[in-house]
Symmetry: C3
């Protein structure tokens, strides 16, 4: 019975997948990876030995890295625990997929980078942040299919998505010279539309929602708020984690902070406004209040000002709540897109908004606004390559991202439809007991 193709048995599938993937990763790391120069220190790689310790990249970026790390494992993991009987899977599969993706991302991103620079793949705190960013995109897609997939299916999705993410990121940042430090396009737009296409292909027409398993209970909503708040608090670190040192990193964090604050007020306003009794909906608070961070993922390092940031944040919150109220039901009933966490509202639309805001803000990339700092933010802008050309590249980048995400998502969706992954049946969806030992003698039946 272990060899059944349709059952959910994981005793061989999951160990084989995990061990095979990890062994391949270890071999590739052994062959292709070496320490970055300020990781190996005086071991021969360093050309300039007069650097002081405090100039080591570690001190500029490690606190930001840890904030991003918390967003990936606690933020995404707990945000998805809102489902009443799917807490183990939400936080546990988030953990597994993230631990895998960050290793693969290091290799794929590093490989593409070495195409430009030659040599081995260098790792250090910057590669750690970039790998976590790619992982974030995979977890966004995970949110779209949450509750309807097996862990092996998710690992398989991660393999393909990490590769496609890295290719798209390479095209945007290295070939098109787009700016996207916080990943409005590369992370959020890509992850959301990729995931939406996967869940479209995996559409389950008979997924009975009347059994209420696809909803929250009281305590699970409070667990989810742990995820929300960590994402909200640390989003300034996320957007600024990989920007240039000094005033740019400072400015990026500051702009994001204002965008999120304005977004929160907008979220509460529209959540109450759209409810007949004027009651707030936890789903909106948990998700839409974060849209301000997504929507500033491209522009936060630019001179958008707190004023501009707050306008963007306010719009993002409104769009996101409206999405949960009107667009998610439409997607499900008309387009057959079952978006468990509503990633279209938190990452999809706000990601596109962020790309547009980034393109528009690029138009103001002049000496007047940036002074000598212009080259730091926009290294390509010269008299031959004006701000309008940069804005055009930003717009093209959005189109490329959507194209790769949509087409890639459909193809990977069909790969994931193969009956070999031990996916749950419709009645087993949103149910921890399928893949986990669950001990719930009496409380279990009571909480339903």
């Amino acid at each position: 019975t272990v060899n059944c193709s349709s059952c959910t048995h994981m005793r061989l599938r999951l160990p084989i997948a995990c061990i095979a993937l990890e062994v391949i990763l270890i071999i590739l790391f052994g062959v292709a990876v070496e320490y970055d120069h300020d990781v190996s220190g005086e071991a021969g790689h360093k050309t300039n030995t007069t650097h002081h310790d405090y100039e080591n990249e570690f001190y500029y970026r490690y606190p930001s890295f840890q904030d991003v790390h918390v967003m990936i494992f606690i933020g995404f993991g707990f945000l998805m625990t809102f489902l009443q009987r799917y807490g183990f899977s939400s936080v546990g599969f988030n953990f597994l997929i993230a631990a895998f993706s960050l290793q693969l991302a290091t290799l794929v991103q590093g490989f593409l980078h070495t195409i430009m620079t030659g040599g081995k793949i260098h790792v250090g705190v910057e590669s750690m942040i970039n790998a976590d960013f790619c992982t974030g995109s995979v977890l966004i897609s995970f949110g779209a299919v949450l509750g309807k997939t097996s862990p092996v299916q998710m690992l398989t999705m991660a393999v393909f998505e990490v590769i496609l993410f890295s290719v798209n990121e390479f095209i945007l940042l290295s070939l098109l010279n787009a700016k996207d430090a916080g990943g409005s396009m590369t992370i959020h737009t890509f992850g959301a539309y990729f995931g939406l296409m996967v869940t479209r292909v995996l559409y389950r027409p008979n997924l009975d929602k009347s059994n209420k398993k696809n909803s929250s209970v009281y305590h699970s909503d409070i667990f989810a708020m742990i995820g929300t708040l960590y994402l909200w608090m640390f989003w300034p670190s996320f957007n600024s984690a990989i920007t240039l040192h000094g005033d740019i990193q400072h400015r990026t964090a500051l702009n994001t902070y204002y965008s999120l604050a304005a977004c929160t007020l907008s979220t509460y306003a529209f959540s109450a406004l759209l409810n007949h009794e004027g009651k707030l909906d936890m789903v909106h608070i948990q998700n839409a209040a974060l849209a301000g961070g997504v929507a500033l993922g491209t522009a936060a390092e630019m001179m958008i000002t707190p004023f501009g940031s707050m306008i963007v944040g306010f719009l993002a919150g409104a769009i996101s709540v409206l999405g949960y109220r009107f667009i998610t039901p439409f997607l499900e009933s008309k387009l057959k897109i079952q978006d468990t966490c509503g990633v279209h509202n938190l990452h999809g639309m706000p990601g596109i908004l962020g790309a547009i805001v980034g393109a528009i803000t690029s138009l103001a990339a002049t000496k007047e606004h940036y002074g000598n700092g212009l080259t730091a933010v926009f290294p390509k802008i010269t008299s031959d390559f004006p701000a309008s050309a940069q804005a055009g590249m930003q717009a093209i980048s959005l189109v490329v991202t959507l194209g790769i995400a949509l087409i890639g998502g459909i193809i990977v969706g069909f790969i994931l439809k193969l009956p070999i992954y031990g996916a749950p049946s419709d009645s087993q969806c949103f149910e921890d007991g399928v893949y986990w030992e669950v001990y719930l003698p009496n409380a279990y039946c009571i909480e339903l």
Copy 2:
């Protein structure tokens, strides 16, 4: 029925309040705010362009800021989830009020600062920390009225409290030249007594406590411990977030760390001692163990030594537990002050203790103890302005703070008594279902 003046309907009230406030904030930010010089970088504001990136204020303060941010949103938010049926409101309204208050505080604090310096309001990591500090004070007052107010009422309170907080802070720090880096006076004493006066004016004689809603259940107490521990761990960052660089910041964190450790042992000791069966009370552990941080809010940057810090922490824990056991019931029965979270015990009395400790410690502000560092900690102390004068200013500052908090709280209390905010009736207090969509099919009735 939406226009009823006494019902709790929020469909128009909350959106109008949130949108109006946010639009006003955005306009004022557009008019009056600009980036600080190490946020805008080389964009014309910088006078000295030879600074290295690692000298940017961001690297000195951003990790501390993030710790403070976690205290505000996770710490205060989860600390208040101890109520059995008020978790959504505790963490959710904490989120709303904080996101609003930090924006308004930036403007009001910045406006008062520009009175001294002229020009526009400058924002950067220092303004972010100061705004979070002011927000903390508002959340302390929120703790006093928790469960008995509507979100619009809380936003209204925040408007007034942010202004009064900033005026008091300006008087203390800029006019009286008091030292209060961790806010024993400006944040804790002010927030506690302001909130106690508000809840006094909003006194509900018939608030039935026999229904037990104003108490905890098993899981809600564990959620609250998340808040407690984050506040406890990060209090050294809180007290040191805005002190001068280098040894002063180092010393402030260290002193606070020892005070909290001693306070914890004192809390456990007195909690067991005051219970007939010698059993520990979660309310004490969740709150009193933090009093050591409050009580060192003024003196932590001074040469109080670990020895002195531990004595203060030990006393603060004892006072706080005794307050929960004897003073809170007295306040409620005799003075008609219904203090939901016991902020008088965690912030009120320990805040006053902290102010007194700060004044006494200032008396030892001599060259003998501080060496050349004296001017850094006490810039006003000279041969004409001896340490005793500084101590006098510290004592006057406590009196001013209590005066503004008590009078301000009474006035704002009466403003909040107007029947326009959709406040809950007595039977609706401590109940999430009034303002939130709550899905609790069966478990709901079981957990009561």
Copy 3:
């Protein structure tokens, strides 16, 4: 009845223990402790006054310290909340014991250090980290006896364990010149085997496990995941918190990060493989996924490469899961060692593995691999003291650690067996209600 020797009454015992210990600590701090030179600043201790603020040790280590602090209080505390009726005690006694241990550790570690250097005990961010490390070891032992001891018993254990830990640490690091920055030996091996011996001596033959209290419920497992994830995310900070500045700290964090990622995949693989239905077990995920951090506690600062780190992490995860499945039942049934949290699997075996990996990696401590950085990592290695001698010292250190832990644990176990601590009876084990006021009107009986 308060004076009964066998009852669990804490009304006098706990206050007397806490107050007496804290008063002794305060007196000793007053007599023997002073600020480190970059804490007191210009107050006369400083020899070189030209240092810039950013060179203050605070900025190199405080973010790491805060990560370690979170691991101690949230990480260990919540990891142990998996027990269904022991959440208050897990997180609450963890809090008490940690707050006590870090104070005592500062004194004992500082005293041993002054034997080498003379003068008073100096405190600063480095002493804070070292004290938290010692505390971690005590909390590991706490995990072995969790649910079967009184708080006074735990405080007593902490007194002895802090002293023995510090003596062992002193022998290893100062006398044997071993390297063990992340404490594979000093923290994990020591804490685990010490705790296992204590629980062996305290063996309860009639501890009825059929009542299921020694297991989890649904929500308690999700609470425990908070602890797991914070430990997992911040382990790179733990291992690197006290290493030398610059590339070494950078490398240590990076190696640990890869070890943990590989360990996670290994944990999921073996957890599914060892279950008849292929279902994952939360106990494995919560614990074994962390073994990769333990196993790199010695070698992470060395040139082990990401490749080597991942192999070690993979092995550690496998060993740990196998331990939970096969060795823990064996220890309990054959050796009468009741290891509540399975610390043998998370800290014991992975700690020994880490010590061995450290010894082997030391063999490659050559100029070829380390360049000029060799002396920074291995200050003792010269032509007279080759890498093989260093490896020998590492191996001897493991033997010394095991010896002190095993003998010390047995002796302390017998001390803790005295009938004076108010230990719970067998039927009271794993039960919060013995030492805490618990309000659980109906939900209590339902969740069993």
